[in-house]
Every structure is written in C-alpha cells, then in structure tokens.
Symmetry: C2
Subunit: 421 residues, 2 copies
C-alpha cells in the first residue's frame, strides 16, 4: 500500500482559477474567489505523453463526494462538459460523446458505428497507433488499405490523393499526433485533399495525443470525427473516452443499412443520452464515470476560462515544444520526426546520441524525479525515448516543469557520457 | 460551477483502517498508522443502488497525483487489485479483468468473447437488466432464448431445467440482483441446475448489484463469469468494469473458431495485460483509469482488511436489509420482491402505499438530504422507488446512514399522508 504511506495535506489560500480580462470563449462565468485549497501530494514530475500532470483543482474534483448520475446537479455538469468539449475544438456543430473508457474505445465507436462490415477504410499510417486503429477496423469487418509513412514522417499527400482516386473509401483515418513517434500530421491538409478528391469520404482523426495541445478547427477544416481521451491535453485523469462527430458523420450513422456492431460503443444507445444531458437533464444507458466527469469539468473550465486563452494555450505549447526540441538537439539528442513541419507540439521523441541507449538516460531522469516514457515504435524502440509537454506543465510556467526537464536531459547525458568515458 | 462553490476541508486525525485481529483473508499487511486525513465535503446521503457512498480514503486515493500507467509502483497496485478482486469472490482460480468502462462493458465482454455468432444463449430474465443483457448478446450475433420471471420474482428453476433439456446453450446468464426490482436470484441454485442438466453450458452472472454486498463463492458454486462495476458493493466511484472468468471460460475463449467480435472488449488483448500486471509489471493495450485503480485498491483494502471481516460484511448487509424491509413494511410500504427468499440484501425496492405516488415520497426524502432512486422497471415504474444499502453505509454503523433512511421513510410518508388528508 505505498499509495497511502506518505500522503498528507498542504494548505494554501489562493484563487482557484484566475480571471482573464477578455475572451471570445468566455461564455460561462469565471470562478474567482478565495478558498481553502486542496494541494496534491509531492510526487515525481510526470512528463510522459499522457497521463500528464493535472492541477490540484482537477484532482479535488475527482474526489467529489458520491453523486447520483441521475441528479440534476450532475446532469448540469455533464451538459457543461459536452458544450465545453465543443469549444476546445472551435466547433458549433459537432456532437460530443463522453463515455466511460479509454481513448481506444473511440476506435471501436468509429469502426462499429460508421463503417459497415465489408466497407473500405483508408488508414494513413504514421506509427504504432495507426497500426492499432487498422486492427480495430478489421475486427468490425472493415476492409482496410493503408498509406504508410516512413518512421518519423507523415504520410505523403500525393499518396493519399492517389489512393483516394484508385478506390472509394467510406472513411479515411489519420493520427494527428502519433504518440509513438511524436509525428504531427496536418489534418487540415489531409481533410482538404479528401474534400477535393473524394468528398463523400468521412475524415476521422485520432486526436488522442493532440486535442487541447494542438489547434484543431473541427468545423472549419471539415473533420467528421475526432476521438481522444481525458488524460493528455485535456488535463484530466484517464478513464473518459471523448469523441466528437460532425452532423455528416451522425447522418452516416443514422442511415446505416445494418445494425451497429457494438453494444457498449453504440451511438444508437449513446446519442439520445448525450442529447438528454445537453439539456441538463439526466439520461441512462450505462453509468457515467461521475467523479471523472467532475474532474473533466474542472479541467475544461481551466482550459477555456483559466489564466490564458485557448489561443494562447496553443501558442505556449508551440513555444515550449520548440524550446525543448532546440535545447535537446543542442545537447546531442536528435528528434525522431524527420522535420519541423511534422513535429508535434505536445510531446518530443528523441534519439539518444550515438553510443548510448535509452537505458543510459531514462533511469537517470527518473532518479532526478522526472518520469519520461521509453520507446514504443517497434522499428526504433531501443534507440529513443519520449517526453510529454502538455497542459499545466506548459501553461503554468511558475511550476518550472520544463526547466526541470531540460536540466534533467543535460545532466543525465553528462552523467552517461562520463560513465562511458 | 456549483461543484466548487462550497468545498473546503475538514481535518481529523485517526487511523486510516483499523486492524482486525484475525482473518483468513488477511494476506497483506494491515495499514495502521495515524495520519492527517482527508475528509470529503458534507453532502446529501446517497442511498441509490449505486453509485454508493464511498469512504474518505477511497476518495483521497482517487485524488492521487498523476502516475504513469507503466510505472512499477502503479503495476504493483494494479496487481494487488487483481488479487483482491479474486478474494472478494472466494476464488483462487478466476481470472479478473479490470478495464476502464461501466458495468455494461462486462456484457460486451461476455457476448464478444464467449458466444460466437449464431450460438445460443439462455437469459434468465428477472427484470430490466436481463432485457438489456439479452439485447447486448443479440448485437454480437447470439441467438437468445429467455426464461422470464414475473415482476418481483426470480425465474423458476423447473423452467430453467426444462429449457436446458430442450436445447443446447453455450451460456446461461442470470442477474444476481436485478437493480430495477431488487430481486435476488440464487445463483448457487441456478449453477447447480446447469451443472446437472447441461454441464457444458457456461454460467454467466451479472453481479453488478451484488458483488461485495451478497456472498458469492465463485469457485465452489461453479460460476464461469461474474461481471460487475466499481460503484456498488465495491465502494469505489464508477468507471471500472470488473469481470472474473473461470479457467473453463478462458478455455472456451481460447478455443473459439472465429475471431473475437470486439476490439476494446477483447480478452485476446486484455488477458496478457492482466497476466502481466498480476506479476506486478506493467503492460499496455489501452490506458487504465489510473486514479480509479488507486481508489479501487483503497476500497478493496477496506473490504478485505478493514474493521470487519468479509463474512461479517455480508452478515451486516443481510441484517441491515432485513431491518430496512421490516421497518418500511411496518410503515405501509410494500416490497417489490415477491418473497423474502428473492429479496436482495444490498438494496430495497418499495411500492408506495395505496393512494400515493413515488413523487409524494422521493422529493420529500431529497429535501431531508436523502437521495434515493426512482422506479426503473417499465411495468411498475410509477408505483415504486429504490433504496440502496451497500458498503460503508452498512458496515460503518457510526455514520447513522440507515437510521436516517428509516426516519426519512417515516417522516416523508407522514407528510405525504397529512397533505392528502
């Protein structure tokens, strides 16, 4: 039971969320009052590409007393979460689905609700998570073709165009940021190609590692589905599958010729529930993760009505990412993405310098209280590691998280080199 | 943002979990130290049949700082949860699956992993949740027959025997406690009939509203699958699907002739992960709900190594249930279950007295700070309501939760009668 061993409380009195003078997105009242505040236990700095560090307010909301999922109080909070999810994506038209589950459940939702058995899907493959999405689609009966990118690269748009011209696809899937390689694919450009070449094909984005750390204009770019999870840019503990579907995607679902091939992930079950909760009244299909919804609500409030605007949040992710990447390369690490145009802003994947292994660096960072992630992409697994920089670690510079990461990268490398010398 | 408005902290210093002198199940060290303790915000008493009231220790664990799901510290906690889940069911052989999701996901797991498309399933139907399980099985291609019980009754064992003799079924499903009616079905007796008449048929128990509030001897009774969720007897916030499969069920899964028909719910994906975590090392398929796993760990520790033994816990549920039912009937309410032998021990479903409606009682209870649940079974929805009595409300008598419920039932009825008079 190490989890209890050293826990205690700290007290401090400060405002929960600072007011921000102006914002286009400030549609709800800003929280601004002094309160005695919960402070989370000191712990190692978690800078993997999700779960990420979360704020005290989010954790305290996760410790909300038990509430009925059918209560009007909870229904209002759930309704807010639906509305605020849209705002993070600059969407007015999208239909959010908030379901108890991991991000992976989003793949099942797409595969079971939008692609009928025997229909074709084109997977734009930029790493480990594209392979897995393809696997999921096939489980539900889709015929999958893939356009593959080299390790560290995004798919070539010419290849995408050629594939779309050669065959009719029900959906195209693209991983916005592949968590295994930190490769960013321009979903705006991909969507534009699809609209031009095969406008009836739905554009499905795996945004697990991009929502709320990369700018996404869901409506403007013509995205049909984006799926994500609570524990990355959205700054909430894991356990909530977050998906937004366009009116066109909903219509595609509604005009299916065969029944949906999942029960738990069925939009037939969930769509009326989401519509009900959006009216701030409760509906029941399966019990939502009530406490986590409170936590998600707290985080969305901080993202949309916190100390920086949504635009500034994305700008800070770009700045911090740039800084981490430049400093790391100065030290001798090398980025996995093949160019700055395909480098994610919420995480960094770094090859260790020649002659070293990730095991020379990662455990040293851990000793300094910095938790990064090992490699995941099978082709390069023994050569690189991954650092996340999303959410509060990026936005609240007073925490010093990024300084600590950069210093850790330097010191660990110095120590490793000294040992080898 | 009502969730933040009145939150604050209370401090008290007491031991987290009291030691218990002897226990067969006390396989792990007892936590016993004084610590400054988190106390949850005062709130309305939640006595619906789940989510239930949870302890401060569980909520505090849910506010654990972010942790990597791949860290050795978390892997050990997850491993403990797997082992302790078995203990709650007196099982040595069962294989637990702990997956981010609601209890409903357990139905998908059974339907997609154990029943191949076109195979037959027999659903013993004792209410709303049996209808839903049948619906789920059909989504995955099962041919479903049902043995139906009258409203408030359990299925007749003679009917079950006749059905099993008339046709070969891959699985029989039984709802241990139907949350819509508070009807308890003797799963021990059902399993015995199945073993005798059709021994190759798997016995699948929906234990969403029974695990940890009703005694279940998984191995001894020959149960093949029990599925449940974190937010009822297990005393944890919602968001964790908990399922245990027998070696026979695992073998049935492993010898399928066609691939599993779900991705997110696939045991092919999850079985190696559960086996890896049980070795206290991390595995990855989809991100587990890390904080909730800490909360579940805290609750399982209290259930297995807390102030009362597991046996005493079940005995207290029976005693409290008896008391609630007797007192309610004295007042003029009438139980939905048709007899004491089919009445659940973790919840009570009550018809309101003649001339009254649930809306005469439930809002009055709410005004007194007592949250009960309305009716759910379509046939009697406007005539009854439901009260949960599980977990800490039952075991920690010093809270006075049950006294408050009984007093509330009396006062609300007196008020309603006075208004009508």
């Amino acid at each position: 039971m190490p989890s209890f061993r050293s826990w205690h409380f700290n007290f401090s009195s400060r405002s929960l969320i600072s007011p921000r003078p102006t914002s286009l997105h400030n549609l709800r009242p800003v929280i601004h009052r002094n309160m005695t505040k919960f402070t989370q236990e000191p712990h190692k700095l978690l800078v993997i590409p999700g779960p990420i560090e979360v704020t005290d307010e989010v954790l305290y909301a996760n410790a909300h007393p038990s509430m009925s999922h059918m209560s009007p109080d909870f229904a209002k909070v759930f309704g807010d979460c639906i509305r605020m999810t849209r705002e993070v994506l600059y969407s007015k038209e999208g239909q959010p689905f908030l379901i108890s589950g991991s991000g992976t459940l989003g793949w099942d939702q797409v595969s079971a609700n939008l692609v009928e058995p025997g229909e074709s899907a084109l997977v734009l493959n930029s790493g480990y998570f594209s392979d897995a999405f393809a696997d999921c689609l096939q489980v539900y009966g889709a015929k999958v073709d893939q356009v593959k990118a080299p390790v560290g690269g995004a798919v070539d748009l010419g290849d995408v165009e050629a594939a779309l011209k050669a065959k009719k696809y029900k959906i195209v899937t693209v991983t916005h940021v592949d968590t295994s390689t930190a490769v960013l694919t321009s979903i705006k450009d991909v969507a534009a190609v699809v609209k031009r070449v095969s406008p009836e094909t739905l554009v499905v984005v795996d945004g697990v590692c991009s929502v709320a750390s990369e700018e996404i204009k869901f409506d403007d770019w013509g995205i049909d589905v984006i799926l994500t999870a609570s524990q990355k840019g959205l700054g909430t503990p894991p356990g909530l599958s977050v998906l937004v579907a366009s009116p066109r995607a909903i219509k595609t679902f509604e005009t299916r010729s065969v029944p949906v091939t999942s029960y738990y992930g069925s939009w037939k079950k969930w769509l009326p529930i989401m519509q009900t909760y959006e009216k701030n009244t409760a509906g029941y299909f399966a019990t939502p993760p009530v406490n986590l919804v409170y936590a998600y609500h707290a985080s969305l409030n901080q993202i949309l009505h916190g100390s920086v605007s949504l635009e500034e949040r994305f700008a800070r992710h770009r700045e911090v990412s740039q800084r981490v990447k430049v400093e790391a390369e100065k030290l001798g690490y090398r980025g996995v993405p093949l160019g700055a145009d395909v480098a994610a802003n919420g995480m960094t994947a770094l090859y260790v310098p020649e002659g070293l292994k990730p095991t020379d660096i990662v455990p040293r960072l851990l000793k300094k209280g910095i938790v990064v992630a090992g490699g995941l992409h099978p082709a390069i697994k023994e050569k690189y590691f991954r650092v996340g920089h999303m959410g509060v670690s990026v936005v609240d510079q007073s925490r010093g998280d990024i300084d600590k990461v950069i210093a850790g990268l330097k010191e660990s490398l110095d120590e490793a080199k000294a040992e080898k010398a």
